[in-house]
């Protein structure tokens, strides 16, 4: 350690306890309540993000339970049509917009910097701002549902049903603003993740050495940036139709109802894939660790992810085969829908090859990953059925689709996600989860899932359409629906077990140690839970599996030295080869992202009731933003000091 001119302390040589203490002091979030709202550490934000998303998952899951209770028998009067429509709309909207996409980004906010050996996400204050906006949006939709003024036109919110003539009250305005609420964090975090992955990797972690989960999140982030603007445009046009009487979707005034469907599904289909691709990332991380070998076919895996991302933008019309899209165009989308199975099949085959040639450790995270194979495969194959125009005409908008989409999303994303939670819980909390409860959790979920959703395939073929609040007894759908409800109860039990497991493990779980699973990627190189700065000494990476295989060049340095200890200084690296690029000072904690998020929320919610809120609300948001970006003398002094001595 050595003193610089302006009291900048630098790390010299191997890390010491003194270095660790200084770094902790520099990188930790400030104490106290105000400090809690000022936190910008990606791990604090990531944890809150994951817990919030899980909370919304439980809420939306309870709504699903309500749906199953209502449908358990024919002619049921438990829930009336108005409430039922709000329930299934809120269930779908929350699961897709407030749980599935954000929870994957939340996992990335926590994990990506650790996995690439960085100290932080690239834009820590923006990460914090995104989280607070997300939380406010999620709470708004919960609040309007509890007030019984929730949106009621489905998560796809088709016009004209959601438009000014048929969508009553402010319900669908809340829906439209909710979309904006999720777009902002979605887009900002994508920018954050892309920049983090491209610029903050450990020296030596070339593109060919990035962990597959990080690749998955990088691809996902790019997809979000290209897909989300479409739905943003659509939701803005919708709210303008509703609030200021534009006629984008009104056929009587030259608008078009189908325009909505194109814009929505241009976003909506890639959305399925940017929920699914992070799941594929979890799969690769967990399979490698529990098969005790690197994933077979790394280049093919990466290319499959990228190919899936591209192809997923060419599928949207398969949600519209029953409309008057021209015949030839539909055939093109059938071909695309079939083609996208190839990259997924490639990954499945590579994983099977990995497992066949590895040594298997059957722990709870691995079980959830194995559940993927059975469930996702069924979901993928029924997806081929839905991609075919003639077959889709029959099963479209029936319970067959409900079965399919849950097989894909729960099998492809939620099972890997639960696996990921079991896998990284020790890293996040420093404690192991109960293996026994974990296995019960898995088996109940797996069996309950299939009992709940398999019968829906048959219901669809027996003529049961989606989104019906009840059905006459003589349709003969009662028994299968009852079975499905029993399955849903089993799933609820398994999620309850998960919560019990988390709470018990937090209190009395066995200490985890740095690397309880014997895994290969960098997040396991630091303590559990990691220190505020992630790594006392940032690693230099020489291989794809840094913890399994040290650098092949014995003379290569193991750590980055020379970075400041009492300033938030990091090393940025070049995009492709991860060569050291330059030093960069990171922003410090501040309350202003939180205040800006509140101002943003006020503007959005007020604009539902008065369009002028967009004007005065912008001023309201500008004020905390100015404070946010206002440089302090202290910071400037440190910057100058750092610049003096390279």
């Amino acid at each position: 350690m050595k003193n610089d001119d302006a009291n900048v302390l630098r790390m010299q040589g191997a890390p010491t306890a003194r270095d660790a203490a200084l770094l902790e002091e520099t990188w930790r979030d400030p104490p106290g309540l105000a400090g809690w709202f000022s936190a910008v550490n990606h791990k604090s934000i990531g944890k809150r993000f994951i817990v919030s998303a899980f909370g919304f998952f439980v809420f939306a899951g309870l709504l699903a339970a309500a749906i199953r209770m209502q449908l358990a028998r024919p002619d049921n009067h438990l829930i009336g049509p108005d409430l039922y429509n709000q329930i299934f709309t809120t269930h779908g909207t929350m699961m897709m917009f407030i749980f599935a996409v954000p929870v994957m980004q939340a996992m990335a906010v926590y994990l990506v910097p650790l996995m690439i050996g960085a100290r932080s996400t690239a834009f820590p204050r923006m990460t914090a701002y995104s989280y607070w906006v997300y939380l406010c949006g999620g709470l708004m939709i919960v609040a309007v549902f509890i007030l019984r003024i929730g949106p009621d036109a489905g998560w796809f919110n088709y016009v004209p049903l959601s438009g000014p003539d048929y969508g009553s009250g402010k319900r669908n305005d809340f829906w439209a603003q909710l979309i904006t609420f999720t777009e902002i964090p979605g887009l900002l975090i994508s920018i954050d993740i892309i920049t983090t992955v491209v610029k903050l990797r450990s020296p030596g972690m070339t593109l060919a050495r990035i962990p597959l989960f990080v690749w998955a999140m990088l691809v996902t982030a790019f997809m979000i940036i290209f897909a989300m603007p479409a739905v943003m445009l659509a939701s803005t046009m919708l709210i303008m139709d509703r609030l200021v009487a534009t006629h984008f979707f009104n056929p009587a005034e030259g608008g078009d109802a189908l325009l909505w469907q194109h814009l929505f599904w241009f976003f909506g289909h890639p959305e399925v894939y940017f929920i699914f691709i992070p799941g594929l990332g979890f799969m690769s991380a967990i399979i490698a660790t529990f098969s005790r070998r690197p994933i077979f076919g790394y280049p093919a895996m990466v290319m499959a992810l990228v190919a899936t991302a591209f192809l997923s933008f060419g599928l949207w019309v398969h949600h519209m085969f029953a409309t008057d899209v021209p015949q030839l165009g539909k055939a093109f989308f059938t071909a695309m829908s079939m083609m996208i199975a190839i990259p997924t099949a490639t990954q499945i085959f590579c994983w099977i090859a990995t497992m066949a040639t590895g040594k298997l450790n059957f722990r709870a995270p691995f079980l959830f990953v194995l559940g993927f194979f059975f469930i996702l495969l069924i979901g993928g194959l029924t997806g081929l059925i839905l991609g075919s125009v003639p077959l889709d005409l029959q099963v479209h908008d029936t319970y067959f689709v409900v079965a399919h989409l849950h097989y894909v999303l729960i099998g492809g994303a939620v099972f890997p996600l639960f696996g990921a939670w079991y896998y990284w819980f020790p890293k996040i909390t420093g404690r192991m989860m109960s293996e026994t409860l974990g296995k019960w959790n898995f088996w109940l979920f797996f069996i309950g899932f299939n009992v709940a959703f398999w019968p829906m395939h048959h219901l669809g073929l027996h003529g049961m359409p989606r989104r019906v609040y009840t059905y006459p007894a003589e349709m003969g759908w009662g028994t299968l629906n009852l079975i499905s409800t029993i399955g849903a109860v089993t799933i609820a039990l398994s999620v309850l077990l998960f919560i019990v497991n988390v709470v018990r493990s937090l209190r009395g779980g066995a200490p985890a140690g740095d690397n309880p699973w014997g895994a290969s990627s960098l997040e396991w190189a630091t303590t559990s839970p990691p220190p505020s700065c992630n790594f006392v000494a940032p690693h230099v990476v020489g291989t794809r599996e840094p913890l399994w295989e040290p650098s092949r060049d014995p003379g290569a340095p193991r750590y980055v030295t020379g970075l400041a200890l009492n300033v938030r200084e990091c090393l940025t690296t070049s995009a492709v080869d991860a060569r050291p690029d330059h030093r960069y000072t990171f922003p410090t904690p501040t309350i202003w992202p939180f205040v800006s998020a509140i101002a943003t929320t006020i503007m959005f919610i007020a604009s539902i009731f008065n369009p002028w809120a967009v004007v005065w609300g912008s001023v309201l948001i500008a004020i905390p933003l100015v404070a946010w970006f206002w440089p302090t003398k202290e910071e400037t002094r440190k910057h100058l000091a750092l610049e003096k001595r390279p």
Partner: protein, 321 residues
């Protein structure tokens, strides 16, 4: 047992094409599923067991792994081949669906409303046109072109035994060619979420032998008869002097509104409220008094009518065979 509403019990040319494709696709998918599951279980069985402390096999990634590579490449190639086969089958079926010969087709126009079906039998001769609601009748073995329009929001007509679904979209006009092969009664239901009573928006399709169809057709062309009995006469006057005629039409009377279903032959229909309840005199009375009891949110208002008046109305409507 309700009329059939099943995908895999085709009673029409189009549904039969789709059912054929269904079984081909399901067979291919089942084969793929079983093959992959076997490979997967084999892999899980074959691999030795390990725990966290088992040293990872990093060296394997630096070898060529040519066997795995060959197997994976082969499996991907096979998948691609299977997908091409499915694509060809799908496109072939699509062509078959589009090639239904339509000479001498009957034209029916269906307009979707929240939450009922308005049905028009069109004809170049205006005297041969008529309208009905929530039911269509078609002859066996004769092509029918259904033209689809929507009055308010998007609906979707789905007669699974005869064909896949087709949307009714405001501002667009779509068509659906069908041909029934078997006489019978089939049920159709709105498949696109359309609001509060989306669950109860059914349509009955009666497929009749040609002579029976012709008889039905001719009967539909008749205007409503003048009521003979006293009660029915009073009902007739109440209908035409009250608010019924603000929404409904009865051919042969001055009631000509189009907001609600055409009631010219209401007594010959089997259900009320688009499949919600059976068409009996008691249900008719209860429906007129408070339709929202059966279909919460329905656009028809409740009517506070004296019992005697209600009976008279029901008696009159009962004459509209």
């Amino acid at each position: 047992m309700s009329p059939m509403q099943r995908v895999l019990e085709s009673a029409g040319t189009q549904a039969a094409h789709i059912e054929h494709l269904w079984w081909i696709t399901v067979a291919v998918c089942a084969l793929v599923f079983v093959a992959i599951m076997i490979a997967w279980l084999w892999a899980l069985r074959r691999a030795p067991r390990a725990d966290e402390a088992t040293p990872p096999d990093v060296a394997i990634a630096t070898t060529a792994e040519s066997k795995s590579r060959r197997v994976v490449t082969g499996a991907v190639a096979l998948s691609a081949l299977g997908l091409v086969a499915l694509l060809v089958a799908s496109v072939q079926t699509d062509r078959a669906l589009a090639k239904l010969p339509l000479e001498g087709a009957i034209g029916i126009r269906v307009i979707g409303h929240q939450w009922w079906w308005d049905v028009y039998y069109d004809d170049p001769d205006p005297l041969k046109t008529f309208s009905t609601a929530n039911e269509i009748y078609i002859p066996v073995g004769k092509p029918v072109v259904i033209t689809l329009q929507a009055a308010d929001v998007i609906h979707s007509l789905w007669i699974p035994n005869l064909h896949g679904k087709r949307d009714l979209i405001p501002g667009h006009t779509l068509t659906m060619p069908i041909k029934a092969e078997k006489a019978g009664k089939y049920r159709a239901q709105c498949a696109e979420f359309c609001g509060l009573q989306h669950a109860f928006m059914a349509l009955t399709v009666n497929v009749l032998p040609q002579p029976d169809y012709d008889r039905w057709h001719d009967a539909q062309l008749q205007s409503a008869p003048e009521p003979a009995a006293d009660a029915a006469k009073r009902g007739h006057d109440l209908f035409l002097s009250g608010d019924c005629m603000m929404c409904h039409a009865i051919q042969g009377t001055t009631a000509n509104a189009r907001f609600g279903p055409d009631l010219t032959h209401i007594a010959s229909r089997e259900t009320l409220g688009a499949g919600r309840i059976a068409n009996t005199p008691e249900n008719m009375a209860a429906w007129i008094a408070d339709p929202g009891k059966f279909k919460p949110g329905v656009n028809m208002p409740a009517h506070r009518v004296a019992k005697a008046d209600l009976d008279a109305l029901v008696a009159y409507l009962g004459t509209l065979k």
